[in-house]
Protein backbone atom coordinates (compact mmCIF):
# COMPACT_ATOMS: atom_id res chain seq x y z
CA UNK A 1 0.00 0.00 0.00
CA UNK A 2 1.37 3.34 -1.08
CA UNK A 3 0.26 5.07 2.11
CA UNK A 4 2.02 2.63 4.33
CA UNK A 5 5.35 3.09 2.67
CA UNK A 6 5.13 6.82 3.01
CA UNK A 7 4.15 6.56 6.61
CA UNK A 8 7.05 4.30 7.32
CA UNK A 9 9.52 6.87 6.13
CA UNK A 10 7.67 9.64 7.85
CA UNK A 11 7.53 8.05 11.25
CA UNK A 12 10.82 6.29 11.30
CA UNK A 13 11.87 6.44 14.86
CA UNK A 14 14.88 8.58 15.62
CA UNK A 15 15.83 6.42 18.54
CA UNK A 16 15.31 2.85 17.52
CA UNK A 17 16.86 1.96 14.16
CA UNK A 18 14.44 1.20 11.36
CA UNK A 19 15.49 -2.42 11.50
CA UNK A 20 14.23 -2.81 15.05
CA UNK A 21 10.89 -1.37 14.10
CA UNK A 22 10.61 -3.66 11.10
CA UNK A 23 11.23 -6.59 13.40
CA UNK A 24 8.45 -5.58 15.79
CA UNK A 25 6.09 -5.03 12.85
CA UNK A 26 6.88 -8.42 11.35
CA UNK A 27 6.32 -10.05 14.74
CA UNK A 28 3.00 -8.24 15.12
CA UNK A 29 1.91 -9.35 11.65
CA UNK A 30 2.10 -12.89 12.98
CA UNK A 31 0.20 -11.83 16.08
CA UNK A 32 3.32 -12.02 18.24
CA UNK A 33 5.20 -9.65 20.54
CA UNK A 34 8.73 -9.63 21.92
CA UNK A 35 7.56 -10.42 25.44
CA UNK A 36 5.35 -13.22 24.16
CA UNK A 37 2.06 -11.47 24.92
CA UNK A 38 -0.93 -11.60 22.61
CA UNK A 39 -1.64 -8.36 20.75
CA UNK A 40 -4.59 -7.62 23.01
CA UNK A 41 -2.98 -8.73 26.27
CA UNK A 42 -1.84 -6.56 29.18
CA UNK A 43 1.46 -6.91 30.95
CA UNK A 44 1.21 -7.95 34.62
CA UNK A 45 -0.80 -5.29 36.45
CA UNK A 46 -0.29 -4.84 40.17
CA UNK A 47 -2.49 -2.45 42.12
CA UNK A 48 -1.97 -1.50 45.77
CA UNK A 49 -4.11 1.09 47.52
CA UNK A 50 -3.62 3.15 50.70
CA UNK A 51 0.13 3.11 50.31
CA UNK A 52 0.75 6.68 51.53
CA UNK A 53 -0.49 7.65 55.02
CA UNK A 54 -0.26 11.39 54.36
CA UNK A 55 -2.60 11.21 51.37
CA UNK A 56 -6.36 10.94 51.80
CA UNK A 57 -6.30 8.35 49.02
CA UNK A 58 -3.40 6.67 47.28
CA UNK A 59 -2.44 3.86 44.95
CA UNK A 60 0.76 2.36 43.65
CA UNK A 61 0.35 0.75 40.24
CA UNK A 62 2.90 -1.35 38.40
CA UNK A 63 2.21 -2.20 34.79
CA UNK A 64 5.14 -4.24 33.55
CA UNK A 65 8.11 -2.08 34.41
CA UNK A 66 6.06 1.13 34.62
CA UNK A 67 5.42 2.32 38.15
CA UNK A 68 3.15 5.16 39.21
CA UNK A 69 1.96 6.61 42.49
CA UNK A 70 -1.36 8.39 42.62
CA UNK A 71 -2.07 10.49 45.68
CA UNK A 72 -5.29 12.34 46.54
CA UNK A 73 -5.48 15.43 48.71
CA UNK A 74 -8.89 16.96 49.44
CA UNK A 75 -9.16 20.64 50.27
CA UNK A 76 -11.85 23.32 50.10
CA UNK A 77 -12.12 26.37 47.88
CA UNK A 78 -14.29 28.36 45.51
CA UNK A 79 -16.12 26.64 42.64
CA UNK A 80 -15.53 27.64 39.02
CA UNK A 81 -17.94 30.45 38.07
CA UNK A 82 -19.61 28.34 35.35
CA UNK A 83 -20.22 25.34 37.65
CA UNK A 84 -21.17 26.90 40.99
CA UNK A 85 -22.65 23.68 42.39
CA UNK A 86 -19.79 21.35 41.55
CA UNK A 87 -16.74 20.26 43.46
CA UNK A 88 -13.52 20.48 41.51
CA UNK A 89 -11.14 17.71 40.48
CA UNK A 90 -7.63 18.83 39.46
CA UNK A 91 -5.38 16.22 37.90
CA UNK A 92 -1.65 16.71 37.49
CA UNK A 93 1.08 14.39 36.27
CA UNK A 94 4.79 14.73 36.86
CA UNK A 95 7.27 12.83 34.72
CA UNK A 96 10.09 13.25 37.22
CA UNK A 97 13.74 12.75 36.18
CA UNK A 98 13.84 9.57 38.28
CA UNK A 99 11.51 7.80 35.85
CA UNK A 100 13.61 7.85 32.69
CA UNK A 101 17.00 9.08 31.49
CA UNK A 102 15.38 11.64 29.20
CA UNK A 103 12.81 13.12 31.59
CA UNK A 104 13.76 16.63 32.54
CA UNK A 105 13.09 18.54 35.74
CA UNK A 106 10.79 21.51 35.37
CA UNK A 107 7.18 22.33 34.61
CA UNK A 108 5.18 19.55 32.91
CA UNK A 109 5.97 19.16 29.20
CA UNK A 110 3.37 18.38 26.58
CA UNK A 111 3.69 14.63 27.22
CA UNK A 112 2.87 15.05 30.94
CA UNK A 113 0.08 17.49 30.15
CA UNK A 114 -1.52 15.04 27.73
CA UNK A 115 -1.29 12.14 30.18
CA UNK A 116 -2.95 14.18 32.94
CA UNK A 117 -5.65 15.54 30.68
CA UNK A 118 -6.58 12.18 29.12
CA UNK A 119 -6.70 10.48 32.53
CA UNK A 120 -8.75 13.36 33.88
CA UNK A 121 -11.17 13.27 30.95
CA UNK A 122 -11.81 9.53 31.31
CA UNK A 123 -12.71 9.88 34.97
CA UNK A 124 -14.59 13.15 34.61
CA UNK A 125 -16.72 12.09 31.64
CA UNK A 126 -17.59 8.71 33.16
CA UNK A 127 -19.09 10.73 36.02
CA UNK A 128 -17.25 8.35 38.34
CA UNK A 129 -16.80 11.23 40.77
CA UNK A 130 -20.07 12.85 41.81
CA UNK A 131 -18.97 16.47 41.84
CA UNK A 132 -22.42 17.70 42.89
CA UNK A 133 -21.99 15.80 46.16
CA UNK A 134 -18.77 17.75 46.72
CA UNK A 135 -20.52 21.10 46.94
CA UNK A 136 -20.45 22.63 50.44
CA UNK A 137 -22.32 25.85 49.69
CA UNK A 138 -23.38 26.72 46.17
CA UNK A 139 -21.37 29.48 44.51
CA UNK A 140 -19.20 29.80 47.58
CA UNK A 141 -17.42 26.73 48.86
CA UNK A 142 -16.78 23.30 47.35
CA UNK A 143 -14.34 20.46 47.91
CA UNK A 144 -11.22 20.50 45.76
CA UNK A 145 -9.90 17.06 44.90
CA UNK A 146 -6.24 17.09 43.87
CA UNK A 147 -5.15 13.99 41.98
CA UNK A 148 -1.36 13.91 41.70
CA UNK A 149 0.29 11.33 39.48
CA UNK A 150 3.94 10.74 40.30
CA UNK A 151 5.60 8.57 37.66
CA UNK A 152 8.55 6.76 39.27
CA UNK A 153 9.56 4.36 36.50
CA UNK A 154 8.64 4.70 32.83
CA UNK A 155 8.49 1.52 30.81
CA UNK A 156 5.70 2.36 28.37
CA UNK A 157 1.96 3.05 28.48
CA UNK A 158 1.78 5.81 31.06
CA UNK A 159 -1.84 6.67 30.39
CA UNK A 160 -3.24 3.29 31.42
CA UNK A 161 -1.01 2.97 34.50
CA UNK A 162 -1.88 6.52 35.54
CA UNK A 163 -5.57 6.04 34.80
CA UNK A 164 -5.81 2.91 36.93
CA UNK A 165 -3.79 4.52 39.73
CA UNK A 166 -5.90 7.68 39.79
CA UNK A 167 -9.21 5.79 39.69
CA UNK A 168 -8.11 3.35 42.42
CA UNK A 169 -6.88 6.14 44.66
CA UNK A 170 -10.11 8.09 44.21
CA UNK A 171 -12.29 5.05 44.87
CA UNK A 172 -10.52 4.36 48.16
CA UNK A 173 -10.08 7.97 49.24
CA UNK A 174 -11.33 8.87 52.71
CA UNK A 175 -11.81 12.60 52.92
CA UNK A 176 -12.05 14.53 56.18
CA UNK A 177 -15.54 15.69 57.14
CA UNK A 178 -15.78 19.45 57.69
CA UNK A 179 -17.03 21.05 60.89
CA UNK A 180 -19.44 24.00 61.00
CA UNK A 181 -16.55 26.42 60.36
CA UNK A 182 -15.51 24.49 57.24
CA UNK A 183 -12.43 23.19 59.01
CA UNK A 184 -11.44 19.54 58.49
CA UNK A 185 -12.19 17.19 61.39
CA UNK A 186 -10.76 13.78 62.25
CA UNK A 187 -13.92 12.12 60.92
CA UNK A 188 -13.58 10.51 57.49
CA UNK A 189 -16.01 9.83 54.68
CA UNK A 190 -15.38 8.10 51.36
CA UNK A 191 -15.35 10.26 48.23
CA UNK A 192 -18.62 9.94 46.28
CA UNK A 193 -17.28 7.59 43.59
CA UNK A 194 -19.90 5.75 41.55
CA UNK A 195 -18.05 4.27 38.62
CA UNK A 196 -14.64 2.94 37.68
CA UNK A 197 -13.43 4.39 34.38
CA UNK A 198 -10.58 2.49 32.74
CA UNK A 199 -8.43 3.71 29.83
CA UNK A 200 -6.98 1.20 27.36
CA UNK A 201 -4.19 2.31 25.08
CA UNK A 202 -3.07 0.78 21.79
CA UNK A 203 -0.27 1.53 19.42
CA UNK A 204 -0.37 0.87 15.72
CA UNK A 205 2.69 -0.87 14.34
CA UNK A 206 2.39 -1.44 10.60
CA UNK A 207 -1.18 -2.71 10.28
CA UNK A 208 -1.43 -4.17 13.76
CA UNK A 209 -2.94 -2.70 16.92
CA UNK A 210 -1.06 -3.64 20.11
CA UNK A 211 -2.70 -3.16 23.49
CA UNK A 212 -0.63 -1.86 26.42
CA UNK A 213 2.55 -0.99 24.48
CA UNK A 214 5.91 -1.67 26.08
CA UNK A 215 8.58 1.02 25.97
CA UNK A 216 10.11 -0.44 22.80
CA UNK A 217 6.76 -0.67 21.10
CA UNK A 218 6.04 2.94 22.02
CA UNK A 219 9.33 4.05 20.56
CA UNK A 220 8.50 2.28 17.31
CA UNK A 221 4.87 3.37 17.12
CA UNK A 222 3.17 4.84 14.09
CA UNK A 223 0.27 6.12 16.09
CA UNK A 224 -1.49 5.71 19.41
CA UNK A 225 -5.08 5.59 20.55
CA UNK A 226 -6.67 5.50 24.01
CA UNK A 227 -10.25 4.47 24.71
CA UNK A 228 -11.69 4.88 28.21
CA UNK A 229 -14.79 2.91 29.13
CA UNK A 230 -17.04 2.83 32.17
CA UNK A 231 -18.88 0.14 34.11
CA UNK A 232 -21.80 0.11 31.71
CA UNK A 233 -19.44 -0.30 28.78
CA UNK A 234 -19.94 3.20 27.50
CA UNK A 235 -17.03 4.89 25.86
CA UNK A 236 -16.33 8.00 27.96
CA UNK A 237 -13.13 9.34 26.41
CA UNK A 238 -10.98 8.75 23.36
CA UNK A 239 -7.66 10.22 22.31
CA UNK A 240 -5.73 9.59 19.16
CA UNK A 241 -2.19 10.69 19.77
CA UNK A 242 1.16 11.04 17.99
CA UNK A 243 1.77 11.01 14.28
CA UNK A 244 -0.04 8.62 11.93
CA UNK A 245 -3.65 7.67 11.40
CA UNK A 246 -6.30 5.02 11.92
CA UNK A 247 -9.04 3.66 9.72
CA UNK A 248 -12.58 3.57 11.07
CA UNK A 249 -12.30 -0.22 11.39
CA UNK A 250 -9.16 0.07 13.48
CA UNK A 251 -10.82 2.56 15.82
CA UNK A 252 -13.85 0.28 16.27
CA UNK A 253 -11.54 -2.67 16.96
CA UNK A 254 -9.85 -0.62 19.67
CA UNK A 255 -13.25 0.27 21.14
CA UNK A 256 -14.33 -3.39 21.30
CA UNK A 257 -11.10 -4.62 22.88
CA UNK A 258 -11.14 -1.75 25.39
CA UNK A 259 -14.63 -2.61 26.52
CA UNK A 260 -13.64 -6.22 27.22
CA UNK A 261 -10.25 -5.53 28.80
CA UNK A 262 -11.63 -2.59 30.78
CA UNK A 263 -14.01 -5.00 32.47
CA UNK A 264 -11.12 -7.29 33.45
CA UNK A 265 -9.11 -4.40 34.86
CA UNK A 266 -12.10 -3.25 36.87
CA UNK A 267 -12.06 -6.74 38.36
CA UNK A 268 -8.44 -6.33 39.39
CA UNK A 269 -9.18 -2.89 40.83
CA UNK A 270 -12.05 -4.22 42.91
CA UNK A 271 -9.87 -7.06 44.13
CA UNK A 272 -7.17 -4.59 45.17
CA UNK A 273 -9.65 -2.34 46.94
CA UNK A 274 -11.15 -5.05 49.12
Amino acid sequence: MHYEENMRVLNMSEILPLIRKEYLISLAKEGKREDERALDEYRPLDIRVNVVDKAEGSALVSLGGTMVFAGIKVDVGEPYPDTPEDGVMITGAELIPMAAPDFEAGPPGEEAVEVARVVDRGIRESKALDTKALCVRENELVRLVFVDLHVMDYDGNLIDACGVAAMSALATCQMPVLDENDKPTEERLPLPVHDLAVPCTFVKLGDSLLLDPSLDEEKALDSRITVATDQEHHVCAMQKSNIGGFSLEEVMHAVRVSTARGEEIRGLMKEAMK
Binding site: N6, V9, P108, H233, M238, K240, S241, N242, G245, R256
Partner: protein
Protein backbone atom coordinates in the same frame (compact mmCIF):
# COMPACT_ATOMS: atom_id res chain seq x y z
CA UNK B 1 -34.95 17.21 16.21
CA UNK B 2 -34.79 20.96 16.09
CA UNK B 3 -31.27 22.31 16.55
CA UNK B 4 -30.69 25.56 18.37
CA UNK B 5 -29.70 27.37 15.19
CA UNK B 6 -32.13 25.49 12.94
CA UNK B 7 -29.53 23.29 11.26
CA UNK B 8 -30.15 19.72 10.12
CA UNK B 9 -28.36 17.02 12.18
CA UNK B 10 -25.73 16.65 9.47
CA UNK B 11 -25.29 20.32 8.61
CA UNK B 12 -22.21 22.40 9.21
CA UNK B 13 -22.29 25.94 10.54
CA UNK B 14 -21.52 28.61 7.89
CA UNK B 15 -17.81 28.46 7.06
CA UNK B 16 -15.74 31.10 5.33
CA UNK B 17 -12.12 30.34 4.44
CA UNK B 18 -9.64 32.80 3.02
CA UNK B 19 -6.08 31.87 2.08
CA UNK B 20 -3.07 34.19 2.15
CA UNK B 21 -4.27 36.87 4.57
CA UNK B 22 -1.01 37.73 6.35
CA UNK B 23 1.98 39.53 4.88
CA UNK B 24 4.90 38.17 6.88
CA UNK B 25 3.93 34.50 7.18
CA UNK B 26 5.04 32.14 4.41
CA UNK B 27 1.50 30.82 4.29
CA UNK B 28 -1.66 31.89 6.08
CA UNK B 29 -5.38 31.44 6.32
CA UNK B 30 -8.33 33.11 8.01
CA UNK B 31 -11.37 31.06 8.87
CA UNK B 32 -14.78 32.03 10.19
CA UNK B 33 -16.64 28.92 11.31
CA UNK B 34 -19.94 29.86 12.88
CA UNK B 35 -18.89 32.46 15.43
CA UNK B 36 -15.28 31.27 15.57
CA UNK B 37 -12.69 33.65 14.13
CA UNK B 38 -9.29 32.08 13.70
CA UNK B 39 -6.01 32.84 11.95
CA UNK B 40 -3.45 30.23 10.93
CA UNK B 41 0.13 30.93 9.85
CA UNK B 42 2.99 28.81 8.58
CA UNK B 43 6.68 29.72 8.69
CA UNK B 44 9.28 27.50 7.05
CA UNK B 45 10.90 25.31 6.12
CA UNK B 46 13.63 27.10 8.05
CA UNK B 47 16.71 26.44 10.15
CA UNK B 48 16.08 24.40 13.30
CA UNK B 49 16.56 26.27 16.58
CA UNK B 50 17.66 24.98 19.01
CA UNK B 51 19.96 22.90 16.83
CA UNK B 52 19.81 19.69 18.88
CA UNK B 53 16.20 19.16 17.76
CA UNK B 54 17.31 18.82 14.13
CA UNK B 55 16.55 15.53 12.33
CA UNK B 56 18.90 14.27 9.63
CA UNK B 57 16.24 12.70 7.47
CA UNK B 58 13.29 15.00 7.76
CA UNK B 59 11.80 18.27 8.95
CA UNK B 60 10.37 18.79 12.40
CA UNK B 61 6.97 20.35 12.92
CA UNK B 62 6.14 22.76 15.72
CA UNK B 63 2.51 23.58 16.44
CA UNK B 64 1.26 26.41 18.58
CA UNK B 65 -2.40 26.90 19.48
CA UNK B 66 -3.21 30.06 21.35
CA UNK B 67 -6.25 32.08 22.32
CA UNK B 68 -6.23 35.86 22.49
CA UNK B 69 -7.04 37.10 26.01
CA UNK B 70 -10.29 38.65 24.71
CA UNK B 71 -11.43 35.66 22.64
CA UNK B 72 -13.48 34.07 25.42
CA UNK B 73 -16.10 35.06 28.00
CA UNK B 74 -13.72 35.49 30.97
CA UNK B 75 -10.44 37.21 30.08
CA UNK B 76 -7.77 34.58 29.55
CA UNK B 77 -4.27 35.20 30.83
CA UNK B 78 -1.93 35.64 27.84
CA UNK B 79 0.01 32.59 26.70
CA UNK B 80 -0.87 28.93 26.24
CA UNK B 81 -2.40 27.04 29.18
CA UNK B 82 -2.52 23.25 29.61
CA UNK B 83 -5.51 22.88 27.31
CA UNK B 84 -3.67 24.82 24.60
CA UNK B 85 -0.56 22.67 25.03
CA UNK B 86 -2.62 19.52 24.52
CA UNK B 87 -4.37 20.95 21.47
CA UNK B 88 -1.02 21.93 19.98
CA UNK B 89 0.10 18.33 20.41
CA UNK B 90 -2.95 16.69 18.82
CA UNK B 91 -2.93 19.25 15.99
CA UNK B 92 0.60 18.19 15.22
CA UNK B 93 -0.45 14.54 15.21
CA UNK B 94 -3.33 15.39 12.90
CA UNK B 95 -1.30 17.38 10.38
CA UNK B 96 2.15 15.80 10.25
CA UNK B 97 1.00 12.57 8.52
CA UNK B 98 -0.16 14.67 5.57
CA UNK B 99 3.09 16.61 5.16
CA UNK B 100 6.04 15.28 3.17
CA UNK B 101 8.40 15.85 6.07
CA UNK B 102 11.31 14.00 4.45
CA UNK B 103 11.44 16.60 1.66
CA UNK B 104 13.08 18.98 4.12
CA UNK B 105 15.75 17.27 6.20
CA UNK B 106 17.36 19.37 8.95
CA UNK B 107 14.66 21.96 8.80
CA UNK B 108 11.66 23.12 10.76
CA UNK B 109 8.12 24.05 9.88
CA UNK B 110 6.35 26.28 12.38
CA UNK B 111 2.59 26.45 12.60
CA UNK B 112 0.54 28.95 14.59
CA UNK B 113 -3.15 29.02 15.29
CA UNK B 114 -4.48 32.17 16.92
CA UNK B 115 -8.08 32.17 18.09
CA UNK B 116 -9.47 35.68 18.08
CA UNK B 117 -13.05 34.69 18.86
CA UNK B 118 -13.99 31.27 20.21
CA UNK B 119 -17.31 29.47 19.99
CA UNK B 120 -16.88 25.65 20.16
CA UNK B 121 -14.88 23.70 17.62
CA UNK B 122 -11.77 25.89 17.54
CA UNK B 123 -9.40 22.96 17.15
CA UNK B 124 -11.25 21.61 14.09
CA UNK B 125 -11.42 25.06 12.56
CA UNK B 126 -7.74 25.57 13.40
CA UNK B 127 -6.59 22.34 11.75
CA UNK B 128 -8.71 23.13 8.71
CA UNK B 129 -7.15 26.57 8.45
CA UNK B 130 -3.60 25.35 9.01
CA UNK B 131 -3.71 22.90 6.17
CA UNK B 132 -4.86 25.66 3.83
CA UNK B 133 -2.02 27.81 5.16
CA UNK B 134 0.42 24.95 4.51
CA UNK B 135 -0.77 24.76 0.92
CA UNK B 136 -0.50 28.56 0.68
CA UNK B 137 3.10 28.25 1.89
CA UNK B 138 3.80 25.73 -0.83
CA UNK B 139 4.68 22.93 1.57
CA UNK B 140 4.22 19.62 -0.29
CA UNK B 141 1.50 17.45 1.23
CA UNK B 142 -0.14 14.14 0.56
CA UNK B 143 -3.46 15.90 0.92
CA UNK B 144 -5.25 18.66 2.79
CA UNK B 145 -6.49 17.80 6.30
CA UNK B 146 -10.13 18.81 6.82
CA UNK B 147 -11.50 18.58 10.33
CA UNK B 148 -14.94 18.58 11.88
CA UNK B 149 -16.61 17.38 15.08
CA UNK B 150 -19.63 15.21 15.68
CA UNK B 151 -21.38 14.83 19.00
CA UNK B 152 -24.46 13.74 20.83
CA UNK B 153 -27.14 16.14 21.97
CA UNK B 154 -30.54 15.16 23.36
CA UNK B 155 -29.84 11.53 22.55
CA UNK B 156 -29.03 12.15 18.91
CA UNK B 157 -25.75 12.07 17.03
CA UNK B 158 -25.26 15.37 15.19
CA UNK B 159 -22.59 17.22 13.24
CA UNK B 160 -20.53 20.25 14.29
CA UNK B 161 -21.85 21.28 17.71
CA UNK B 162 -22.33 24.98 18.38
CA UNK B 163 -21.33 26.38 21.78
CA UNK B 164 -24.82 25.98 23.31
CA UNK B 165 -25.05 22.40 22.04
CA UNK B 166 -21.61 21.56 23.36
CA UNK B 167 -22.46 22.94 26.81
CA UNK B 168 -25.66 20.89 27.12
CA UNK B 169 -24.60 17.92 25.03
CA UNK B 170 -23.76 14.36 26.04
CA UNK B 171 -20.63 13.95 23.95
CA UNK B 172 -18.27 15.80 21.60
CA UNK B 173 -15.85 14.19 19.18
CA UNK B 174 -13.47 16.23 17.03
CA UNK B 175 -12.15 14.36 13.99
CA UNK B 176 -9.67 15.15 11.23
CA UNK B 177 -8.97 13.01 8.20
CA UNK B 178 -6.63 12.69 5.26
CA UNK B 179 -9.32 12.23 2.59
CA UNK B 180 -7.18 10.49 -0.05
CA UNK B 181 -5.92 7.93 2.43
CA UNK B 182 -9.20 7.67 4.32
CA UNK B 183 -7.23 7.87 7.54
CA UNK B 184 -8.35 9.47 10.79
CA UNK B 185 -5.51 11.62 12.13
CA UNK B 186 -7.40 13.49 14.86
CA UNK B 187 -9.79 11.72 17.15
CA UNK B 188 -10.76 12.86 20.58
CA UNK B 189 -13.94 12.26 22.51
CA UNK B 190 -15.46 13.19 25.79
CA UNK B 191 -18.91 12.35 27.05
CA UNK B 192 -20.71 9.03 26.96
CA UNK B 193 -21.38 7.00 23.84
CA UNK B 194 -22.22 3.39 23.16
CA UNK B 195 -20.06 1.44 20.73
CA UNK B 196 -22.72 1.96 18.04
CA UNK B 197 -22.88 5.68 18.68
CA UNK B 198 -19.10 5.93 18.44
CA UNK B 199 -19.22 4.40 14.97
CA UNK B 200 -22.14 6.59 13.96
CA UNK B 201 -20.43 9.74 15.20
CA UNK B 202 -17.11 8.99 13.49
CA UNK B 203 -18.90 8.26 10.24
CA UNK B 204 -20.88 11.49 10.46
CA UNK B 205 -17.77 13.51 11.34
CA UNK B 206 -15.91 12.00 8.38
CA UNK B 207 -18.74 13.07 6.10
CA UNK B 208 -18.49 16.55 7.61
CA UNK B 209 -14.75 16.51 6.90
CA UNK B 210 -15.50 15.80 3.24
CA UNK B 211 -17.68 18.93 3.08
CA UNK B 212 -14.96 20.97 4.77
CA UNK B 213 -12.47 19.53 2.28
CA UNK B 214 -14.43 21.07 -0.61
CA UNK B 215 -14.42 24.45 1.14
CA UNK B 216 -10.65 24.22 1.58
CA UNK B 217 -10.18 23.45 -2.08
CA UNK B 218 -12.52 26.29 -3.05
CA UNK B 219 -10.56 28.73 -0.91
CA UNK B 220 -7.30 27.71 -2.54
CA UNK B 221 -8.92 27.91 -5.99
CA UNK B 222 -10.12 31.42 -5.24
CA UNK B 223 -6.63 32.41 -4.12
CA UNK B 224 -4.81 30.68 -6.94
CA UNK B 225 -7.42 31.13 -9.65
CA UNK B 226 -6.16 29.62 -12.85
CA UNK B 227 -3.71 27.38 -11.06
CA UNK B 228 -4.55 23.71 -10.96
CA UNK B 229 -5.26 22.05 -7.63
CA UNK B 230 -6.16 18.40 -7.08
Amino acid sequence: MERVDGRRFDELRPIKIEAGVLKRADGSCYIEWGKNKIYAAVYGPKKVLPRHLEKDDRAILRCRYNMAPFSVEERKRPGPDRRAVEIGKVMQGALEPAILMHYYPKSMIEISVEVVQANAGTRCAGITAVSVALADAGIPMRDLVPSCAAGKVDGQVILDLAKEEDNSGEADMPVAIIPRLNQITLLQMDGKLTEQEVEQAITLAMQGCQQVYQLQIDALRRKYAGAEYE
